[in-house]
């Protein structure tokens, strides 16, 4: 399953009522060990609400004043978002998530309130669309999507891989532009429509960008760069 499958899915409560869309996903670093990264990130909670500019602007954080009218407007849009713990999810269906609880029973904690051991990461705000950087400081693409492995027996799903490249991005863009991007990417990669995956085990660190432990040349997204380098740029003197 991909993060893009979760985000923007409709949420249906125990009474069958549609209570909104998934706006963001909170992750906690308390899963099984995975490579250099340590404990893997697991899905802890889903935030209800649209994941638009309002959430991404960061106005829920303290100290972000912004131009006053913009701050006021965007803060209002994110003020009352409810949160669903993963344990309250009954089933995941095609484009829909079914809950055990009724809407009235949902809480509104902020990500700082969540009591946990282990680091908390807001997938939409801190992980998605971040720059991937290799140990030499070279840029290796963006976090376009995340691969999530569902577990049996009620254990929280584990984030196993970072998906990168236009193939993964196309899914998040959606609609006609997304489909177009996907077909361009497929053609450039010789017909394969699967996005490139980077195991979370090679992630060293997440701060304002994601640092990897492998050189960018070993990442699947390097294919296109390599092709352009070998067939176009190298042919020109002075490269």
């Amino acid at each position: 399953m991909r993060l893009a499958d979760l985000i923007d899915s409709r949420i249906v409560d125990a009474d069958g009522r549609d209570i909104g869309r998934v706006g963001d996903v909170w992750l906690i670093q308390n899963g099984p060990p995975i490579g250099v990264f340590g404990a893997a990130l697991t899905v802890d909670a889903l935030v209800i609400g649209r994941f638009g500019l309002a959430s991404r602007a960061g106005y829920e954080r303290e100290g972000v004043r912004g131009p006053a009218p913009i701050a006021w407007y965007l803060r209002r849009r994110t003020a009352h978002r409810q949160v669903v713990r993963w344990s309250d999810v009954l089933a995941i269906e095609e484009g829909r998530i079914r809950l055990r609880l009724r809407e009235g029973d949902l809480g509104r904690p902020s990500i700082e309130d969540v009591r946990t051991t282990g680091r908390r990461v807001s997938a939409g705000l801190e992980l998605l669309d971040r720059q991937l950087v290799d140990p030499d400081g070279m840029m290796a693409g963006k976090v376009d999507d995340l691969a999530i492995e569902l577990k049996d027996g009620g254990a929280p799903p584990v984030v196993t891989e970072i998906l990168a490249g236009p193939g993964a991005l196309a899914r998040r863009i959606g609609g006609t532009p997304g489909a177009w991007l996907a077909s361009v990417d497929a053609r450039l990669r010789g017909g394969s429509r699967d996005p490139a995956a980077i195991s979370f085990g090679v992630v060293a660190r997440i701060d304002d960008h994601v640092t990897l432990t492998v050189s960018r040349e070993e990442v699947a997204t390097f294919g296109f760069e390599e092709w352009v380098r070998d067939h176009v740029i190298e042919k020109i003197p002075g490269s």
Binding site: G167, A196, V214, A220
Partner: protein, 165 residues
């Protein structure tokens, strides 16, 4: 460490949105290009009149540009190629305006009169500009002499524009 960091994942299909936004923007672009480019037909006297005035203004602009360019050329204040290009550009403007105007069907007798009042002057101006262009390409000395009639012609067209504009 070359871990199993790389493997392919089965892909999904992007959610299909209705293709409406695509067609809408295509239409919009066509509309933009079309509206920016054409001169439509004139069905009323006042519509024809405004086209006539626009034509007169264009030709005045071209004529006075040529007069200035000719003066600068004679005074040695510019280079021959520059003057040449300036006059050629002005000629294109004047002729395009004339051709656009002559291609429009006058809707009634009153418009016929308007056409008859305007066209000869416009044509004369185009002819003189053409002569200036030839002289300029030859770097043939006295351009102002060749361009002189444009002063009078431009003033007449100006009067036409003021009268009907």
């Amino acid at each position: 460490m070359r871990a199993n960091a790389i493997r392919e994942l089965p892909g999904g299909t992007p959610r299909q949105r209705r293709g409406r936004s695509r067609t809408a923007s295509g239409l919009l672009i066509t509309l933009l290009l079309v509206s920016a480019a054409c001169t439509g037909p004139a069905r009323t006297t006042s519509a024809y009149q405004s086209k006539a005035v626009d034509t007169a203004d264009e030709v005045v602009s071209a004529s006075r540009t040529v007069l200035l360019a000719a003066q600068l050329g004679d005074e040695g204040r510019s280079f021959a190629p520059t003057i040449s290009v300036t006059v050629a550009d002005a000629e294109t403007d004047a002729e395009t305006a004339r051709d656009a105007f002559t291609s429009v069907q006058p809707p009634n007798a009153e418009s016929d009169n308007l056409r008859a009042a305007l066209l000869p002057t416009v044509q004369d101006a185009c002819d003189v500009i053409g002569e200036v262009r030839i002289a300029a390409r030859r770097a043939d000395g006295d351009l102002s002499q060749v361009a002189a009639p444009l002063g009078q012609l431009a003033d007449e067209l100006d009067a036409f524009s003021t009268r009907y504009g």
